[in-house]
Symmetry: C2
Subunit: 154 residues, 2 copies
């Protein structure tokens, strides 16, 4: 599998339920560049349901949240020219999250979460996000992510 920015976090940041490579219970989201956009993929389980046939909104919010912090880390690493094979990736937390559910998200398909970096200002990154199933946008959102020091929560 392609390495995501989450594979370059220091170990103590690798425990996140949404995107931590070291959390065996979690979603293990991986976020990569796809041209100018950021991309994560996720396959919902049958029990990730809400209304029958649709993905649970809380999971969709979680995916947008973690895709947002992953995208912000990618953007900061790029802006600062960090060589990820030598140095840890920056780690961001979510300041705020906005999610709009445009249509039900079919549960019987892989999901694609795509981000566009709207703003980088110091430690703050704003990411506009859309979530697609079967090629159609089902959910849109915005994440304001804040970079934390490497020893945060250690």
């Amino acid at each position: 599998m392609m390495k995501g920015i989450q594979d370059y976090y220091p170990d103590h940041f690798g425990q996140c339920y949404g995107c931590g490579r070291l959390n065996e219970h979690g979603y293990q989201l991986k976020t990569v560049w796809d041209g100018d956009e950021t991309l994560s993929r996720f396959t919902p389980a049958k029990y990730h349901t809400a209304i029958p046939g649709s993905v649970y909104g809380g999971l969709l919010a979680s995916l947008i949240d973690c895709h947002g912090t992953g995208s912000a880390a990618l953007a900061l690493a790029k802006e600062k020219g960090i060589n990820l094979e030598e140095y840890n990736a920056p780690r961001c937390v979510t300041g705020s999250l906005q999610v709009s559910y445009g249509r039900p998200t079919p549960i019987d398909s892989d999901l694609e979460i795509r981000g566009r970096i709207k703003e980088i200002k110091g430690r703050k990154v704003v990411v506009a996000i859309r979530l697609l199933s079967k090629g159609e946008i089902c959910v849109t959102g915005e994440v304001v992510a804040i970079q934390v020091p490497d020893d945060f929560g250690k």
Copy 2:
């Protein structure tokens, strides 16, 4: 355990990962009145972490999401004078969700999610929500919930 509004949904609405009484993998959130406010409680597991020691933001967003739809159902049932022992509770889906993370949410404590009904207009209910750990507000949010017909997704 006290019955939540989720115990009065028809069976086909009881599968939600966040609040469905019939989803054995899910959070099984229960939402009740507490005076003029709505209340749900949740005990995070150790693996629901993000930064070490704190609850994962996606879970917090999920709890706010499901507390919002549960609160909206309580509010609609009350406004319409529905006797829940005789008739099903109304069921709402989330139109939009906004979450602000004010401070890290300690993972070693039960969480209290409290809602205030801001607006009821036809099928739309707006709920202002705060999430507390150890008596302190950690996260605030707002949910716009929309009532769906009883046969939605059936």
